[in-house]
Symmetry: C2
Subunit: 288 residues, 2 copies
């Protein structure tokens, strides 16, 4: 199987350093330590598809450090500047950076981006409303008033193909670029398994009932903090009943058509980008 985008990172997350203030201080004053370069949430990418790093000497005085981990035994950090926000959208500059990053480098970027974004939206305690402060080397926030601990959120999302008679169901969200179709997707809810969420979403969005759901692959997706869980299920029939609040259109496409389109050929739809797990999922399905 081709590795999904945003996977294959080489960072040792070094959980032991997060909880040891002395070890953290030593890492943060290590002259070899590196700081991830982000410009308004966007990474620098070199000609080999690697992330840009700088020295901690470049750190904004008001910034707080997040220990991403160790790589080549070097501490690697990202900076969170209180009061700032990640830009919510994915502009053309970022999409082009994602397309040129090596997947393992994109994994480091994904971790940094999700955690920074989480800090920016969690300055207050959901339990009591008081202010929270960064702790655990950036992998948590603690409330000043009630001491509740908060940890970065990861939202599981199911993304799936329904298969019927050798054809796959693809859908089109209104916000997609022109011509793009992809696997259907939705947030998993409390009280559901992965397989149940897949069946519910396909029924809600397309009126399609599936059974025999099987897991294919997963990837982190840092917009802002999803865990994408890719699956395939078998549809009882091919009647589509569209939920037009969610989807603009849905179509059944054959393996041959999917293979052609993924290989760059002309077809009835434009495929998802290679760094999206929908690309991995379609590639696996097209193999048969």
């Amino acid at each position: 199987m081709i590795a999904p985008g945003f996977t294959g990172g080489t960072l040792d997350r070094a959980d032991r350093l997060r909880q040891d203030p002395d070890a953290f201080a030593a890492a943060a004053t290590d002259w070899r330590a590196r700081l991830l370069v982000l410009n308004d949430g966007q990474p620098e990418v070199d000609a080999e598809g690697r992330l840009g790093w700088t020295s901690l000497a470049d750190l904004d005085e008001a910034a707080e450090l997040i220990l991403l981990g160790l790589d080549d035994d070097r501490p690697r950090f990202a900076a969170y500047l209180p009061g700032t926000r990640m830009p919510p959208n994915r502009g053309p500059g970022l999409l082009s950076a994602l397309a040129s990053l090596q997947p393992g480098e994109a994994a480091t970027y994904a971790a940094a981006r999700s955690v920074i974004d989480w800090h920016s939206r969690h300055n207050f305690c959901a339990n009591c409303g008081a202010q929270t402060a960064l702790y655990r080397a950036g992998w948590g926030r603690r409330c000043h008033a009630c001491s509740t601990e908060h940890f970065p959120r990861v939202d599981p999302v199911v993304i799936m193909i329904a298969e019927h008679d050798g054809r796959a169901l693809l859908g089109r969200q209104p916000a997609f670029p022109p011509g793009r179709y992809s696997a259907l997707a939705g947030f998993l809810e409390p009280g559901e398994s992965v397989e149940e969420a897949v069946a519910r979403e396909l029924h809600e969005e397309a009126g399609v009932r599936v059974s025999g759901v099987r897991y294919v692959a997963s990837q982190p997706w840092p917009f802002p903090s999803s865990l994408m869980i890719a699956c395939i299920g078998y549809a009882e029939d091919d009647t589509i009943t569209l939920d037009t609040h969610e989807l603009e259109d849905a179509i059944w496409v054959s393996r041959e058509v999917v293979r052609d389109v993924l290989a760059g050929g002309q077809g009835p739809f434009l495929p998802p980008p290679p760094y999206a797990i929908a690309f991995t999922l379609l590639t696996e399905w097209a193999k048969g």
Copy 2:
């Protein structure tokens, strides 16, 4: 495969009703509507392993309704009483209720318990600190001040067996009942795939490196709101380096021993309860 605990629920979550105030009002005044009975977070269980329900006439005047969904075309609700908390621990009464509930009924309980607990810990906006109010039929909260929308949190947790030379790695947390061993587990972090989180946790907790990680099954776990993702990986060798902050002990056990123990026989450990996905995972692994 045996179905994991807390799966197989028959509730239609009826997402369309959550977002339609008129449809919600009609459901909440339907004379056939049912309210889940919870006593301090604990369900009533009848002799057939089914949940206890009552009428909405029994609703506390200060309580807010959560629409669990439709079953037999009847609206099904749970009640959240502002200012109350789910008891954090799992006492013997609750454990015995879980052991006697049918899995599909336990799924309904899991959804209700996780969402109620989430409301109780999210009365304030993490973004600005102002008060939030329940909306979307209980499947969200919105901030009075900044209008940020918050949705019930689901935390993905990986739970896994490392396999080496026909034996499985099991660990013992200090909080386990005497003699209990189970699969190792840990929260998935931002920027990780399922497979990467499995490899990281096994290395952090037991010093074991794995490859070829494969997904087995998933279940919701409502203490308070985990999605358990069960996997198996292949260990390079059987040397254990224990993280004693996480585990008290870890052992390698053969398929034969696991089969015996799951069948109720004597062995070197007590197995996890049948409603835990570790039980499903061990059962699958023991099949070979």
